[in-house]
Symmetry: C2
Subunit: 232 residues, 2 copies
Amino acid sequence: MAAKRSGARSKRGINERLQPVQEPRSEPPLSRERIVATAVELLDAQGVDGLTMRRLADRLGSGVMSLYWHVDNKEDVFDLALDSVLEYRGPQIVKSRDWRGEVVHMLEDWRASMLRHPWSASLLPRRALGPNILSRLELLSKTLSRAGVADADVNVAIWSLWNYVMGATITRASFDLSDDDRAAAQQRLTRLSERYPTIEHSRLLLDNDWGGTFRKGLGFLLDGLLQDEAER
Amino acid sequence: MAAKRSGARSKRGINERLQPVQEPRSEPPLSRERIVATAVELLDAQGVDGLTMRRLADRLGSGVMSLYWHVDNKEDVFDLALDSVLEYRGPQIVKSRDWRGEVVHMLEDWRASMLRHPWSASLLPRRALGPNILSRLELLSKTLSRAGVADADVNVAIWSLWNYVMGATITRASFDLSDDDRAAAQQRLTRLSERYPTIEHSRLLLDNDWGGTFRKGLGFLLDGLLQDEAER
DNA sequence: ACCTGAACACCGTTCAAGT
DNA sequence: ACCTGAACACCGTTCAAGT
C-alpha cells in the first residue's frame, strides 16, 4: 500500500485565475485512486485484453514505470479495479423480515453492478477477494443466518447462490459482447438441426430475456433452499 | 478447416525395421488433431497464460508459422482445445425414467470433465460453442423435455443449471489453483474478524468439501425446478 | 499442399538513474 | 518520495518465400 489522498485539490480554488488556460491541461499527480479509476475506464472501453500498463500510463499522462510506484504489478491493478467496482451501496443492515426479498435484492444488485462493467464478472472468480466483495458476502451470510438457516447449511447456501450468480452473469456478459457470433451460432445450429433438434426447436441460443431468466432461476434455487429449511 | 487424417500411420508397420533408431525421434506431420492434443497438454501443464503459439510450435517440433496452415489463429486453438475436452462419453439416449438421476449424472460428469482440465471452465463461457458442448446441451434439453418440463420452462431450466454448473466449476477451479492464496485470505479475514464476523465464524473460505457442496446445491436447485413442475 | 524465417508492432517488468 | 528511459525477454501475426 502507498500513501493516499494528497491534499493537492484543496488549493485549486485559489490559483484558478492565475493559470486559467494551462492548468486544466496539466495532470493531477499520480495516485492509487487515479490509477484504479482510469483502469476501470480503460477496461470499460476496451475489455480485459485492452488493459495494458502502457496504455494505462498513456491515459494518465505518465511514464509506464511510474505506475509501479503506486501499484505492485498488473495483477494488482486487476484486483483493485475489480473490488472498486463492486462496492455495495445498499443498506448494510437488514431490518425487514422478508429475508427472501432481501436476498433477491442483494443478488440482483450484485449482478447489475457486474453487468455495468462486463469485464468484472469473468475476472471475479480468479482474483483475490477485496473488502467490498467480502462485505457483500458478510451481509448475505448475516441475512441467511438471521432468517434461521442452520449454521451447517449457510455455507452451502452462500456458495450455491454465489455459483448461480457468477455463472449467470459471466454467461450473460460474454454472450452480450458478441451479437454477431450469437447470430452466427444460431445459423450454424439451424444448419445442423438434425443433430440438435431439441435446442434448435427451443431456440435456446436466441432466448435473450436475460433478466427474466435470471430471476426465475434464482426463484427456483431459493424455493429449494427455503423448502429444505421449512422441512426440518 | 483443413484436411484431416493423413494416411501416414498406416504404413508404419512396414518400415519399422528399416529406421529403428531414428524414426521414433522424427515428428509425425502436423495436423489439426496433433495441434489440438498438444495444446491441451500445454494448457494442462501451464494454464491459460502458458499457451503460446511459440511454445506450442516448440512442443510440436515445427516452426511457429506452420501452425497457421492448420489453424486460423490463437482463438481458434482455444475453441478447439476446449471442445475436445468436453466430449461426452455417457449414453446418448436416456432410457431410465429417473430424470432427476440422469440430470445429476450428466451435470456431475460435465463438472468432472472440466475439473480434469482446470483451464476449461473459465474459458467456456466466452468461447464459441463447439459440437461436443452442443451435444451436451441437446441431451440435457431432451431429458428435461421428456421428463415433462413445459416447453416454456425448458430454457429457463437449462440456463439455470448451466449457470450453476459453470459458476461452481469456475469457482472451484480457481480456488484450487492457489492454496497459498486461500490460506492468506483466511488469515487476512481472521485479522479483520470484527468487520466480517459472520463469514469468519462460518469459515466460508476454508470450506473445501467442493463435491459435497456442489451436490447439495444442485439438489436445492432441482428441488425448486421439480416442485414447480409438480404444482401445475 | 505444406512449411519457414525475418520483420513488425506490440507486451510486462528489472534496473540503474534522475529529482 | 516520486518519477523516468533504456533494455530484456517475451508476445501474435503478416508477408514474401521456399519445397
